[in-house]
């Protein structure tokens, strides 16, 4: 797996990524789309990551990007 932008989050990221990949290949792709066994790892990883994004000012850049993306968004979430 790729590293995190924040080295201190690497361990928890690795755990989450491994959990996600297992869920994706063994459950999600086989039709079980609603289970969420990786949720707890993800929220730990996110709280580690969000601190660093804030420190680096990346959270603001993301906010701006999200705003300009909101129009295109709806076209993909619907099935074509």
């Amino acid at each position: 797996m790729a590293a995190s932008i924040a080295p201190e989050c690497n361990d928890i990221k690795e755990k989450y990524d491994t959990c996600f990949l297992k869920w994706y290949s063994e459950k999600y792709l086989r039709g079980n789309t609603t289970s969420n066994e990786c949720e707890e790892l993800f929220s730990k990883y996110k709280s580690c990551l969000n601190k660093v994004l804030k420190e680096k000012g990346i959270d603001q850049m993301l906010e701006d990007a999200r705003k300009s993306n909101s129009e295109v968004e709806s076209e993909y979430i619907r099935r074509t």
């Binding site: 994706y24 990007a65 074509t80």
Partner: protein, 188 residues
């Protein structure tokens, strides 16, 4: 604005490709070394459609032509914001990326789609990539053209290396999954 596009076919099923895609930038990929970090920002499954939506932050560290740095300043570290959608029913992965760094100078919008190839849908996957590159800096058209040209050139180099690197990840994934399965079977 300039458009860069490329298509290719991977000799792996859509399930394999869409799974390996999550670890495209791992140590098995020794070609895309400009990607130094990939972080997941959010992930949700739409209850009605089953579509998996993921937001990621991709951090790159790459050599930028010196004249670009002296014109616009900044560092060689850049960030890309990516939203992807996996539709497990129609078997389609769509990834939309845009640059966060230098976005006041240059706008790069990339869309990538992975879907089963029409001819052999169970064993091969088609890849379509399109990038729209627009220089926004005010002033001379000549400079804008030059910036766009250099960006397209860099983009196409990265795309070629990206494909080579992803092939290596696909091959390793198949081997490792095969070994895991063998181990599990021998336990039984």
């Amino acid at each position: 604005m300039r458009v860069f596009s490329s298509t290719c076919t991977f000799d792996y099923s859509w399930e394999e490709v869409s799974t390996a895609n999550w670890r495209k930038y791992c140590p098995w990929n020794d070609k895309s070394t400009h990607v130094v970090a990939v972080d997941t920002l959010s992930r949700t499954v739409d209850l009605d459609t089953g579509i998996l939506r993921t937001e990621r932050l991709i951090t790159c560290n790459q050599s930028v032509p010196q004249w670009v740095l002296s014109l616009f300043g900044g560092s060689a570290t850049s960030h890309v914001y990516e939203i992807s959608y996996v539709d497990p029913i129609s078997k389609r992965v769509t990834m939309c990326s845009s640059n966060l760094t230098w976005s006041n100078v240059l706008k790069v919008q990339e869309t990538v789609i992975y879907r089963p190839s029409p001819s052999t849908p169970t064993s091969t996957t088609s890849f379509n990539q399109e990038a729209k590159i627009t220089a926004l800096c005010g002033g001379w058209q000549k400079i804008k053209n030059k910036v766009e040209e250099a960006s397209v050139e860099r983009f196409s180099q990265n795309a070629k290396r990206g494909k080579e690197g992803f092939e290596a990840v696909l091959e390793m994934s198949r081997r490792v999954f095969g070994e895991q399965r063998e181990n599990e079977n021998s336990k039984i």
